[in-house]
């Protein structure tokens, strides 16, 4: 079983230096764990699968789950802390810079470019989430759910939580029939 310091070191290095988001980071972590024989393949597969159905950031759930299996609850907490604290501090600084920069012509122009890109990447995120579903045979169901939730929000101004709840019930019902 790895020590807390060893675990913290691996999660800190990998979590804060790997570009590309969750999947590349989980791939690097898998390689690190297998090299050190810290976790079995079945355990890894179980955590990987459950991280996919844990809300919000899959990577953080993956870190908490693998560290918990390897060394207990404290390890799970430490893994999440070392992966998030440095990058969260960087984001606070970047936000502060953006806030100050809004009054400078040059900085405001650069921030304006980033803001336009943020809007573009937000729409691209929607596309990337839905793309694997379109490729499968259930594209009609996919389109129906996406369009209905869009209309409920945009046209009928229904708040997001009830829409998500309706979708969850629809998903249960669909599988049941």
């Amino acid at each position: 079983m790895p020590s807390l310091a060893q675990l913290a070191s691996v999660f800190f290095r990998t979590g804060n230096t790997t570009l590309g988001g969750g999947d590349p980071t989980m791939a690097v972590l898998q390689r690190e764990f297998e090299r050190r024989k810290w976790i079995g393949h079945d355990q890894f597969a179980l955590v990987f699968g459950l991280a996919r159905v844990t809300p919000f950031t899959n990577l953080l759930a993956f870190c908490a789950g693998t560290a918990w299996i390897m060394a207990g609850l404290i390890a799970g907490i430490i893994a999440v802390l070392v992966v998030t604290i440095p990058s969260a501090a960087l984001v606070i600084w970047l936000t502060h810079v953006c806030e100050i920069g809004a009054t400078n012509r040059w900085a405001a122009s650069a921030i304006g470019g980033c803001v336009a890109a943020a809007a573009g990447t937000t729409i691209a995120s929607a596309y990337r989430i839905v793309q694997p579903q379109i490729r499968k045979s259930n594209w009609i169901w996919t389109a129906a759910i996406v369009i209905t939730s869009f209309l409920l929000s945009r046209v009928f101004a229904l708040s997001p939580i009830p829409i998500l709840a309706i979708a969850a019930v629809a998903g249960l019902f669909r599988n049941h029939t």
Partner: protein, 171 residues
């Protein structure tokens, strides 16, 4: 604003989203539409700031917390970001492989799809705010294409967009 309330509003968004950006509509509904703590421009900037650095996805909620309540708000945002991750521990202990149940997976998959519709709905006012001229339209389309159709990391897209914004002043 009360830091605890910032945490509650953000954790409501993170706990009900099965992908990071699916939380954006909930955040916008609470922080921009209902409580007027952020503008659409600030929410867009938060998304940009969250994508500019390395580390896990979802860091934009830290930036949202910072806009709403300064550094304590950012800490509330950070806590809201990490809270859902710990759900995996009881899931591993008590649910295990039963999470592979088709009904459970179907419910989650449909929720994710509904999140896409909500994300597109939230993206409309954000895009409207971001578009200030021809250059911003080109940046928006190019960044969409780069993220949707290539494997370029979002950091490079953001840096290129910032450089393009600067160039637009020079040219």
């Amino acid at each position: 604003m009360n830091i605890f309330l910032i945490y509650l509003l953000l954790v409501k968004a993170t706990l009900t989203s099965f992908s990071v950006m699916a939380s954006l509509p909930v955040v916008r509904a609470d922080f921009v539409v209902h409580h007027h703590l952020l503008t659409d421009r600030q929410l867009n900037t938060a998304v940009a700031a969250g994508r500019l650095g390395p580390g896990p996805n979802g860091l934009y909620v830290v930036s949202v917390g910072y806009y709403a309540g300064g550094v304590p708000g950012a800490v509330a945002g950070w806590l809201a970001m990490i809270t859902p991750a710990f759900l995996i521990i009881p899931m591993l202990r008590f649910i295990g492989k039963r999470a592979e149940n088709p009904r459970f997976k179907s419910a989650i998959q449909t929720t994710v799809l509904a999140g896409v519709g909500l994300l597109l709905s939230a993206a409309v006012p954000l895009a409207r705010d971001a578009v200030t001229g021809v250059v911003s339209v080109v940046i928006l389309i190019a960044s969409f294409a780069a993220i949707a159709f290539t494997r370029i990391d979002s950091i490079w897209v953001m840096l290129a967009a910032g450089a393009a914004g600067l160039l637009s002043l020079v040219v």
